[in-house]
């Protein structure tokens, strides 16, 4: 009997264990990004812009030329890189605290200018690295260490729907929301990442993909419960789908 590897490990993905908690979706998101980069033959011309949060060590896992951006500023840093080297492929990888709180101005203006960069946005509704504080995407009623009674709509407002917001801006060529809770959604996520990257490669505009992801540690759940929470609680508030697609497919 011969064995055939259907999903080989991308070369650009480092051969080392990650520091992520069991059941965390960052590792999976990294792998999908790595697969898409290789399928589009991009690693040798890519500059990755890292962010602050659990994915701060992304350069340990994706073997790419990488610059560390200050908290929330990855879209501004990416703008600088791309304007300096328009011939390179530039993407940021950011979490929800980074992108939707401290970095809200940078992401909005980067998208609105139609910068030819792509953004992978991992939304797990919580600040993971700092120990589970309330994020701008924390669901109403969700308990965190800084909203111990649960997020209150009247006090803290409702969670930002970033894919819709970014999709509404003129410079955006592609904006979508996907999830990593099951195989079907993982496949759709990979497709969306590819389209967000192609928006840049085909000079259409800004590319954005929001990925609903789990944080079992800070949600105080098992990985399985965390996956179920994505389906039961997150997707009903954060609908999956494309909010802008000017790529013609």
């Amino acid at each position: 009997m011969t064995e055939k590897i259907m999903f080989p490990k991308p070369q650009v993905l480092a051969n080392r264990p990650t520091h992520y908690c069991p059941g965390c979706h960052h590792g999976l998101a990294h792998k999908l990004v790595a697969q898409v980069l290789e399928e589009l033959k991009l690693p040798e011309k890519t500059i990755c812009v890292g962010s602050i949060g659990c994915s701060v060590f992304i350069y340990n896992y994706l073997l790419l030329d990488t610059i560390e951006a200050p908290h929330g500023r990855a879209p501004a840093v990416a703008t600088g890189v791309k304007r300096a080297r328009p011939d390179k492929f530039v993407f940021t990888y950011q979490g929800d605290g980074d992108l939707a709180a401290i970095g809200l101005a940078e992401i909005m203006h980067c998208a609105n200018r139609g910068e030819r960069v792509s953004v992978v946005f991992v939304n797990n509704t919580i600040y993971g690295m700092t120990g589970g504080q309330m994020a701008p995407t924390t669901l109403v009623g969700q308990k965190t260490t800084t909203c111990p009674g649960g997020r209150c709509k009247d006090r803290e407002g409702e969670p930002f729907k970033m894919a819709e917001i970014i999709g509404s801006l003129g410079g955006t060529a592609y904006a979508a929301r996907t999830a990593l809770n099951d195989i079907k959604n993982i496949q759709k996520t990979k497709k969306a990442i590819k389209l967000a990257f192609r928006a840049q490669l085909e000079d259409k505009g800004f590319g954005f993909v929001e990925i609903l992801s789990s944080c079992p540690t800070n949600w105080k759940m098992t990985p399985l419960q965390a996956n179920e929470r994505i389906a039961k609680e997150m997707i009903p508030y954060f609908p999956l789908g494309e909010f802008k697609n000017t790529l013609g497919e």
Partner: protein, 351 residues
């Protein structure tokens, strides 16, 4: 080599100097009194194949600079005091990540919103780091419009030589004042960053530009490396001495105040007063040793600044224990004239 003379504002001279130095990207945000720089760059930089971006904030502009220079090209941002405070985040990251950004501060009055007139209130911020962490910038303090042009070109060279952010510290006087300059075209090195810049990991291991050092002892090692670099920068020290040799009193002043004091010195010399000017041009590294030489000769010192006393601390450190420095601070809100400094200089001389 262009020998044509131009009659331009200090702000324009800086923009022209940046273009001559091969600046390829400029990122800015409107703030008085430096708006001529982004306006000039938005018009002229694209003609040279460069990119101009009006950022959403000073924070974003400085971070765009961080990104652009990581790709190994020459790039710049400019602002004035409140905006420079906002840029400190990226400046600290550039220092920690060893990136060669050039930042222009056309100093205005503060604290807070202050005013839009000239001031030297940002001396501490510029020369002692400015943002968080243990770092320094190279700081250049031009006193004339020609010097603004020349030092802008130098700023880019130094930034890449030391892989360190460089600040040009002017003020509203220098920015808005028009003077004739003779522009010149330096030789711009090609691929000066090819050993470290980000351009895609093709045929080599990936490069990471970062300021995070979590492993045991790693940050200490990194900071010692930076300290070594700051020590090496001492060979870049620049200053102007004017009639100091036989002077009994040395007035220490920088930037446009140094230039105004020079006029006062000329007047007082005609009256027979033995006074001279010491004008630091590099504010970091500070020309302490040259000042100490003068102090050992038994001269008296007076530091004049357009603030309530900041550089005077560096002067005092340089001249002690051989001398003390007096201080005269011109307050914000108006332009000092050479006459304004006559009385304080004579008073210090006769002390």
């Amino acid at each position: 080599m262009s020998k044509k003379r131009l009659f331009v504002k200090g702000n324009e001279a800086i923009a022209l100097g940046a273009l001559a130095a091969g600046c390829k990207c400029y990122f800015g945000y409107p703030i008085t009194p430096q708006n001529d720089i982004p306006e000039f760059m938005s018009r002229e930089l694209p003609k040279k194949g460069g990119a101009f971006v009006q950022a959403e904030s000073e924070v974003a502009a400085a971070n765009m600079l961080l990104g652009a220079v990581s790709a190994g090209i020459r790039a710049m941002t400019s602002s004035s005091s409140p905006g420079i405070s906002l840029k400190q985040e990226a400046i600290s990251y550039m220092a920690g990540s060893e990136l060669p950004g050039v930042i222009v501060n056309m100093n205005r009055g503060g604290p807070g919103l202050g005013d839009i007139g000239p001031s030297q209130g940002d001396y501490f911020q510029a020369t002692k780091g400015g943002g968080h962490g243990d770092y320094r910038l190279l700081v250049l303090g031009p006193g004339t419009v020609q010097e603004a042009y020349d030092l802008t070109i130098k700023a880019f060279d130094l930034a890449f030589k030391y892989k360190n952010p460089v600040m040009i510290l002017g003020d509203a006087i220098l920015g808005q004042m028009k003077e004739p300059i003779t522009p010149w075209e330096p030789e711009v090195p090609e691929k000066e960053a090819k050993e470290w810049c980000l351009e895609g990991a093709k045929g080599r291991p990936p490069r990471v530009i970062k300021s995070l050092y979590l492993e045991d002892g790693a940050l200490a090692k990194h900071n010692l490396k930076l300290a070594q670099k700051y020590a090496e920068m001492k060979k870049e020290i620049l200053f102007e001495e004017f009639l100091t040799q036989d002077a009994s009193l040395i007035v220490v002043a920088y930037g446009s105040i140094g230039r105004i004091v020079k006029s006062t010195i000329r007047t007082l010399r005609k009256q027979g007063h033995k006074v001279g000017l010491f004008r630091p041009i590099t504010l970091y590294p500070f020309p302490s040793e040259a000042l100490q030489v003068l102090a050992k000769e038994g001269k008296k010192f007076l530091t004049i600044e357009h603030n309530l006393g900041q550089m005077v601390e560096d002067v005092q450190l340089a001249v002690c224990p051989y001398a003390q420095t007096d201080f005269h601070g011109h307050l914000p809100g108006n332009l000092p004239t050479p006459n304004d400094f006559e009385e304080p200089i004579i008073k210090a001389l006769e002390k």
